[in-house]
Symmetry: C2
Amino acid sequence: MSSSTPRSAADTRPGATTDPSTDHEVLAVVLQVTDAALHVLLWQHDRGPADRSWALPGGPLMSDETLGQSVARQLAQKVDVRHLAHLEQLETRSDLDRDPRGRLLATAYLGLVPADQRSILPADTRWHQVEALPDMAFDHASITSSGVRRLRAKLSYTNLGFALAPAVFTASELQAVYQAALGHEVSATNLKRILVRREQIAATGARTSPGRSGGRPAAEYRFRTRHIEVTDQFAVLRPPEPPRTLSE
Amino acid sequence: MSSSTPRSAADTRPGATTDPSTDHEVLAVVLQVTDAALHVLLWQHDRGPADRSWALPGGPLMSDETLGQSVARQLAQKVDVRHLAHLEQLETRSDLDRDPRGRLLATAYLGLVPADQRSILPADTRWHQVEALPDMAFDHASITSSGVRRLRAKLSYTNLGFALAPAVFTASELQAVYQAALGHEVSATNLKRILVRREQIAATGARTSPGRSGGRPAAEYRFRTRHIEVTDQFAVLRPPEPPRTLSE
DNA sequence: AAGGTTATTGACTGCTAGTCCATAACCCCG
DNA sequence: CGGGGTTATGGACTAGCAGTCAATAACCTT
């Protein structure tokens, strides 16, 4: 830059302070399907400008940790982090007035907990249905919406369902998880066929014990991998197929 | 947890400083198709630990601006920002050693410039082919890859092509832009049919003046909107169609 | 054994998008 | 002015994905 574009940006904005340091916090949108509905983990402020409102778990970024380490550390105060099947960065908010106490950047993460995990929560912490959020602090409601939107989008073109479903499950159980997460009806027949064809899930060979409820025992499935992978079939305008090799 | 694993964060990490302030910079991955190839805007460091290497445009975040304002301000030093047809946040990097001078967070943005815009660049600034990147500073090569990956993904399931294409264009011109951006062959016939069906582009009615090169004049198209929209058809497991209304 | 309940499978359909080829509309040249 | 070259356009054909529905299977209880 240097010569032609001097980087003392402040020159162009005389009124601005040049102090580039800001406070930075980390927030987490942790989602789980329970009781046929998608829930987000919130805790209740007990003082401060957003008194009695609910907030996303999080806290200040320390100077010797990465954002990912920070969110994992802070989440450990609220849930058993071993239950987190997936954690990814969502976005960074920087509105000047997002926190009335002053300038505060926030980097949000999306975390997912399988439906069969039950954490023991601290007294101030609860799961809330995302379709019926309480009054929330600052921009936390908006950040929660971003997280839910991200989850719903990725459920269609990735194998992210692994992070919401139990380790093994029947087609019906999977249908219930997807239906709650997506927020609309889902056909179990179609869902199972799609995920099998995409090679996201595979039958374990076992069936549910013909015990309880009457009805035919169901086949059990599991996700083939438990890390995120993109369904390449959703790349429209995909590269031309290489000519089929002779090895086959 | 919580009660079982009390954790006033600092307690568990005695060596850590609790100072939550960090330096923060903004970087931009600005992409444009020219000469049948996808290019990224870079400028050349002339001193410092990454001497002679190329860097993404950017600079420190000021305390009275949002991240979006900051990236727009800093980009103005490199290109005519009126040429930017799209700008979105990409990700925030926080590795402790990403800059050898010390802890420095970086929030990266993705910017797109239509293929027909020609900016006058400062002397230290140049467009580089993304398929042949020079030595780059710090983690800037990795951030560039993230930007290119994001662009390629969104070209398939959004109308983001509007930000790379000229205001009006023929099917061949659009094909050239997509092919360069995606990095693989694209069929003009198929591309045009897909984008028309998705209602992303529409014929203007005009045709190219039958002037220069011989050959039939081509129909001209334009994108119907110049802000990003998601192709809902890529929501697999989409909600059931409401029964057709009588109004039709 | 009959009837209720849940699961699984296959048939059928519509739509998307990939490929290929015939035809259209221009140019230049002889 | 007509033939041949060049680029553009549109139609035909195909394969595969996903949505729906109904028939069948495998359990239960009475």
